[in-house]
Symmetry: D2
Subunit: 261 residues, 4 copies
């Protein structure tokens, strides 16, 4: 089964910043998708902020097994209704991977329920990512560590909830550390945050980074059928209770009434 | 040190439903606060949905060490700006306890980043809460289990993130189970969800329930000073890096520029 | 790729207790293996306590992707050296599934580092298992719950560490609950505990139970190569440090010396 | 209430290695205890490997609210029976803090159920510990980070289970990182691992290190009464079931029989 993967690109800096355009002539999302498509188990397409509904129509989400999100300059331009639609898809079972500056994207903050803040420095310093969970599938084929010669620094404390597992921790030349690979589950959807990817450096051309993203796509993919309504809160009437019981005591709700929200 | 505790009450059913008014002549929030005030370590006050800013002004939040939230019929009436203010306080270090139907309150859903849904039945059936974490401080003074003769059923799957710890699991007469005591941390704030408390039953008069809530107040209290800005994402300039580094490579940001959000 | 699965059976009650022999004419481990072998992705074999090295030779472990363990009456007869060998295999990447009374088996207690105790009652009562993690792969094809008409009761508090995820919680007719599906990782190995399976009831003939065990085999399987020495604690000499540093200060160890254990 | 704290010292290098003797004229455990005793809420005493039962008699454990463990050269000399006694105390509710090379101590490995291995280098390099959980009580009074000018390097992957919370992550000058503050719960006991403390450096004279250890003592202290038997697995007879049930089906156990182990 091929995993249908959609790469969401903000697609702003590629057109406004000469350095970014030179490093990513195919755009960042295009580069990420191209690398993924070399894996026979993955079929990647791209959408952008500028597309109608930012490319995140109900149809596109229904055909997306795993969504990858990169944004930085234009988080506020993402419509709230689209954010809710994306989160609904995640809760229903779509996998999602947030890259680098997407730590401040609306869907990530919405799914984390936390500030998602950090410290940062753009100095082209060296980053080394260490695997902290032996033989985790997201780190398959990576040794105990790999190095990116030029990256933006992100430093702790990283304002996210304690993850299910910490898969990578980064060392930075300037003296900071960062939990740079974190797994979560929200509803039926698997969530992975992966730190590297500042737009002025060739990070998404790096073979190890490409491998981690492909691994993460496979990890995040939930083959179960998407939940029809991930927010449903069904009433179980007395006569449908698994064990026979008799209703008693005062009631707030009439029979057949919807629950309050 | 006395823990300043604010009990937020929706304060709707106490005035519209005769049963609720009879069970809780002091209102639900008033009953909860009165029980807490019997503990010399806690000073509890109440606010309601109907107060200006729903009682959740910046001043009140600044004076609140732990907030307790009960709502059911009027979740949608809570203004989004107030929800953000409450979440900021939590991220800065305020403890928060969500009771029963507050699983669908705006602040809980915002902090969880998940659907927070469940199944339910209002049949006055028996609930038995079992402690699943030996000698957890929130279960202090409770034996291995305690029983509520009449409660609304909430059933799994409960659409919340995996907690830090599962403290209670409920058994229901009609055949369901529910993870009814769950701990989380969001930013610097401790979060506890506690299931019991349907408004037509005398749950908040129960000594065990009162004890758990008082224990949870003490557990959730973070004595550290509230963070001034829990969302800050400060730049660390090259000359302030912990280790001496030299800036190199192309840059997106000018010196002294704010980060993008 | 077919997952090589070994079912370890204590193989005592099948020969000493007439009821068990009648319920499981193929033995319990034989019944479990036969059900697994209906899945084309799994190749299951069996070993027993009575085999040399309890069937857990280095060779057999090297050929085992996932080990399933059922024991009850003869935990103490399992040699400690074999327990360490099994744990080494887990830490190196072998998946392991513990069934029912294996909560008190030596390898489970060794991997948990906790008492693993519980309350129990053998009364043939009804058990209902509820899924607590939406669409978890271990619950694939199971609805929100399934029922076993006759089972032994296991009750909370269950003396195990907080799991990575709670996948099932059981309801018992007699009033107790139990976290009956729990995931862990130890070293590079995935660990799953699954509660049902008292030997006098036909639990391992149940289609839902069989399905969960097959799902768990797939979940627990780590396709990465087994770690050669999962206990290695290698010295990284100064001249092999990822960043160039100069040795300084007093030293306890001479160059090339092994670390202390 | 004063927290009765026992500092367990291996007490070998202080007498065999001139550097260690000079850095710690009061011994390492003596230095740690002296610093703790400056806190009016803590009453610390010391015991050593050389004491009868390594100082870990049933009486001493009964009078210990929190145990601190430092060992390195003589892990193997610790008797297995004493290790079990210590673990029983933890499971019953005693807090325990493992320092530095105690990652390979018998009680830590026993409680973790994992290899507890790592990489290492003794080069007197700089270590910087970053707080990864905002305002965690164990980090109270510490800013976002603190630095130790000379320390032994410990590197990832650290072979321990995923913790409840990661409180500190270390940066090392030579290019490695390490999760250096980790919380766990085992039975009713709170467990904290804290990395710094190589014996040839003055780490336990450092004010920040002393503060973290004192904070950890308070965090680890469980004021609940110690469990009488943390390994008990009581039978709940049919007539004592919380809900009335009738026994049915075949039985393995006779009435009043002990469970199997």
């Amino acid at each position: 089964m091929v995993i249908r993967t959609t790469v969401w690109g903000e697609n702003v800096h590629e057109h406004k910043n000469k350095t970014v355009a030179e490093v990513y002539p195919l755009t960042m999302h295009g580069t990420i998708a191209e690398a993924l498509n070399r894996d026979p188990g993955i079929a990647a397409t791209t959408v952008t902020l500028q597309d109608p509904d930012h490319g995140m129509t109900a149809e596109k989400l229904a055909e997306t097994d795993v969504l990858i999100w990169w944004g930085h300059a234009a988080h506020v331009q993402v419509q709230d209704a689209v954010v809710e639609r994306v989160c609904d898809a995640v809760w229903g079972g779509m996998g999602i991977i947030f890259l680098h500056s997407a730590h401040f994207s609306k869907p990530f903050k919405r799914l984390m329920g936390a500030p998602c803040n950090l410290t940062w420095r753009e100095a082209g310093e060296r980053e080394r990512l260490w695997v902290t969970s032996r033989n985790h599938p997201i780190a398959a084929g990576i040794g105990d560590s790999f190095t990116l010669e030029h990256e933006e620094m992100y430093g702790e404390p990283f304002g996210v909830p304690e993850p299910l597992e910490t898969v990578f921790v980064s060392w930075f030349q300037g003296g900071e550390v960062f939990r740079s690979g974190l797994t979560y589950k929200r509803g039926a959807g698997n969530v992975f945050y992966f730190r590297p990817g500042h737009e002025t450096y060739p990070t998404y051309h790096d073979a190890n980074v490409q491998r981690v993203i492909a691994n993460a796509v496979k990890w995040a993919h939930n083959p179960a059928a998407r939940l029809a309504d991930p927010n449903a809160a069904p009433n179980v009437p007395v006569d449908k209770a698994p064990e026979k019981i008799t209703e008693r005591g005062p009631k707030l709700h009439s029979h057949g009434e919807e629950g309050l929200r």
